[in-house]
């Protein structure tokens, strides 16, 4: 249902067995075509959830490639295996008690300092993120850069599977982002005021008026309402 492709079949290997699947399929649709009912290694099917990380090799190419099975188009003679999830220990912390600096990383993920700058993580990242650079930024205490570079991480964990220093980059990155979002981004001043207004019942009267209106009255009000995107 995801794809409807003209059927020219090409050979691929799923867990070492050869299958012929339609050219143009993604790894996911190819596996389904081959008869697999996917019960893991599949999630949103649109490249956002990181559930379908896969490893593959191509003929005549010594490299081990990584990709999302829902986004990677199969190629002839491709050898594929899925990594439904990457074993990694998420540390337990109380975000309210941390400081937005290097300390939490020393405490919870000291392995981050074992980074040997080999760049293997960057090469495997299916989101094409500069993983090594964000890890190096964490080590320097530059959370802003770490957060910016890691923002599009979907936490598939392929980086952590390949890392010779054996760190969970994706878990380190979310700690960095949470610290940054909580402590370092500008405070939204008006927001506090608005929350107070709601609590103090400033809108109750108008709500009561709207809610007591007949459908037609409300409809009239709606179609006559002012649409204005120039003011905030």
């Amino acid at each position: 249902m995801d794809t409807q492709i003209e059927e020219k079949l090409i050979p691929i290997y799923i867990l070492s067995k050869k299958y012929y699947v339609p050219e143009g399929s993604t790894i996911i649709t190819a596996m389904e075509y081959a008869g697999f009912k996917l019960k893991k290694g599949v999630g949103c099917r649109e490249g956002f959830c990181g559930a379908c990380a896969s490893l593959y090799r191509l003929p005549g190419d010594y490299k081990l490639h990584g990709g999302l099975a829902c986004q990677t188009v199969v190629q002839p003679e491709m050898q594929i295996v899925q990594i439904p999830f990457a074993p990694a220990e998420k540390k337990v912390y109380n975000i309210d008690e941390l400081t937005p600096d290097i300390e939490p990383f020393k405490k919870y993920y000291p392995e981050v300092f074992r980074c040997v700058s080999c760049n293997t993580c960057t090469k495997i990242c299916p989101q094409e993120l500069e993983v090594m650079d964000y890890i190096q930024a964490v080590i320097r205490g530059d959370l802003e850069l770490a957060v910016d570079l890691s923002f599009d991480c979907i936490m598939c964990g392929l980086c952590s599977v390949r890392c010779p220093a054996e760190m969970p980059q994706h878990l380190i990155a979310i700690l960095a982002r949470r610290l940054y979002g909580k402590y370092m981004m500008p405070r939204a001043e008006f927001l506090e005021k608005r929350i107070k207004e709601v609590e103090e019942g400033k809108f109750e009267e108008e709500f009561a008026r709207f809610m007591s209106m007949s459908r037609d009255e409300l409809k009239k009000l709606y179609y006559e309402r002012d649409i204005n995107f120039d003011i905030t």
């Binding site: 003209e6 959830c49 923002f151 940054y180 939204a188 809610m211 204005n228 905030t232």
Partner: protein, 559 residues
């Protein structure tokens, strides 16, 4: 796979040729030239072109609490199905897990409910079908609505939501939704959610379809992922109070002899084992139904969006609301085929992206409510002004390069990294070329009826998120469902924890499942279908016929 096929070039040239003129109009304010539709115009395009109005779109349901009502035909088929289990073969002995609150579904609503139930003193079990966060919540791109600007207010937000929902929304739910939006914004911010800011540090807000003010908060175009991964991380910070069970979907609720909901039966999809969870209160947070492919549409939804929660609750006697209405998102990808039906966020239009036909002409105000906008696209194609794809689909252009002309170079890379990446994988640069789009099945507008605290008519059964009905009437506005799952996930969590303190569970039973089977029989419904569906069927039919039935609990009916 590289770029658009040759034959589309001519149409692409026309889009480029009309761009300067359209840019000029946009700078002067598009709504002055291309007026939003009047109520009459909306009704006309909806009744002629919206898939819900098709004569086979709905049929009467013959059993259950909504018996006799017209519901979406596919929904009726799924509800009029046999249970997966035979109650006589299941022993409800010592439970495998015993808890205060059971949450079924580990998406945004489920995680938010877990966090708040725990904060209110409850022990929680979350049971989810795939991994925690493999959910629609992870996928939302555009943003969340909240009236956080001085010239906006919860009441203006209320009016927009009611109008968008064709005034069918339950008013008390919309009031809660819009009033608590600012508080939710702050709560998420304090967990570490990185809402986009303007250069001077304010929360960035953008217009959305059907909003009358700038009200959409976002986190690049990974808004859902950003919120979901933070909520998931927070859930995982409390292993002593919150137990997460992955790859264990619920297949039936369990009641007690007083008719209270008392937990659920989970099904291990690989080993075939059943797992019994006894709980003082249960929250269903299983999300939507995109994977039913209603009316043959492709979908934006995740793999597990198969309406299971509605099936479970209905069998236990819960009332449904507005399960006759389906949301089709106007901008699903129509090309390339690998991403057919995938979502192109509405935020593209929020930033000034324009829908145009094969001749590069504007034909609809870009920010109508979703059902109206989608219907206008379908009309444009039906009248021959769409572009056909090599595999037999059709679409209109969504002009994205104009975004850079309006907002400055670099805007797309900064605001839409996910979209840029998605198309780049298939050789299309959306900074240079538009996207071909057509409506796609997106959201379950209705669901299980709830009150302000997420309670249903079944005692101790609560519901939150997309699986609930009433908040959005018959058409949800963009940005209101992230808000919905946060507001009502929180409320359901609080109420479930409170109720759990006062609850004593009686003897467990599956009698409601037996009764349901009986109802099917009495109504003369003969079918091989089983539900909940759990996972949709995409396997190759030829190969499926060779499968051995006894090994495959997922074989489709009739094979």
């Amino acid at each position: 796979m590289n770029g658009y096929p040759e034959y589309m070039r001519e149409s692409l040239k026309k889009v480029a040729a009309t761009r300067p003129k359209r840019l000029e109009l946009a700078k002067k304010g598009l709504k002055n030239f291309l007026k939003p539709m009047t109520a009459e115009e909306r009704e006309e395009v909806l009744s002629k072109y919206h898939p819900d109005y098709h004569k086979e779109a709905r049929k009467k349901i013959r059993i259950g609490p909504n018996k006799g009502e017209l519901l979406t035909s596919k929904v009726v088929d799924v509800l009029e199905s046999h249970p997966r289990i035979n109650p006589d073969e299941i022993e409800l002995g010592e439970p495998d897990y015993d808890t205060d609150v059971l949450i079924i579904g580990g998406g945004g609503a489920g995680c938010m409910a877990a966090i708040w139930a725990r904060m209110n003193g409850a022990k929680v079990v979350i049971a989810t079908k795939l991994r925690l966060g493999d959910a629609n919540s992870m996928m939302s791109q555009g943003g969340m609505q909240a009236a956080v600007n001085p010239h906006d207010s919860p009441t203006i937000h209320y009016l927009d939501a009611m109008g968008g929902g064709h005034f069918d929304n339950k008013p008390e739910l919309v009031k809660v939704l819009t009033s608590e939006a600012p508080m939710i914004t702050k709560f998420l911010m304090e967990l570490g959610v990185m809402w986009d800011r303007t250069p001077d540090g304010h929360l960035q807000t953008k217009p959305g379809g059907g909003t009358s003010r700038r009200r959409l908060l976002s986190a690049r175009d990974y808004t859902g992922a950003e919120i979901m991964r933070v909520l998931r991380d927070e859930v995982r910070n409390h292993p002593e109070d919150i137990t997460v069970l992955e790859y264990l979907p619920a297949v039936e609720l369990v009641l007690d002899d007083e008719g209270k909901c008392a937990g659920a039966l989970l099904f291990h999809m690989e080993t075939g084992e059943y797992v019994l969870v006894r709980a003082k209160t249960t929250i269903i947070a299983t999300g939507g139904f995109g994977r039913l492919h209603i009316a043959g549409f492709p979908t934006t939804n995740h793999y597990g969006a198969t309406m299971d929660g509605v099936v479970l609750a209905y069998r236990a006697g819960a009332k449904l609301l507005y399960m006759d209405s389906v949301q089709f998102h106007p901008t699903g990808a129509a090309y390339p085929p690998q991403i057919l039906g995938f979502l192109i966020t509405e935020k593209i239009r929020g930033f000034g992206g324009q829908p145009v036909n094969k001749d590069g002409e504007l034909f609809v105000y870009p920010l109508e409510p979703r059902d109206v906008e989608a219907s206008a696209f379908i009309r444009e194609c039906a009248e021959g002004r769409g572009i056909k794809t090599p595999d037999g689909h059709v679409g209109i252009w969504l002009d994205s390069p104009i975004i850079e002309l309006l907002n400055g170079p670099g805007t797309i890379e900064k605001a839409f990294p996910a979209m840029l990446r998605q198309y780049r994988r298939f050789g299309i640069d959306i900074r240079e070329e538009p996207m071909l789009v057509y409506p796609t099945l997106h959201y379950q507008n209705g669901g299980i009826e709830i009150n302000e605290w997420g309670e249903t008519n079944v005692p101790n059964l609560l519901v939150a998120g997309e699986v609930s009905g009433g908040v959005h009437g018959r058409n949800r506005l963009m940005g209101n469902s992230i808000l919905d799952y946060n507001v009502f996930g929180r409320r359901a969590g609080i109420r479930a924890a409170e109720l759990a303190k006062k609850t004593k569970i009686g003897k467990l039973t599956l009698d409601h499942v037996r009764r349901y089977e009986e109802e099917l029989r009495e109504a003369g419904i003969k079918t091989k279908r089983v539900a909940p569906i759990l996972l949709p069927e995409y396997r190759n039919l030829k190969i499926l016929q060779k499968h051995r039935k006894e090994f495959d609990p997922f074989l489709p009916a009739g094979l």
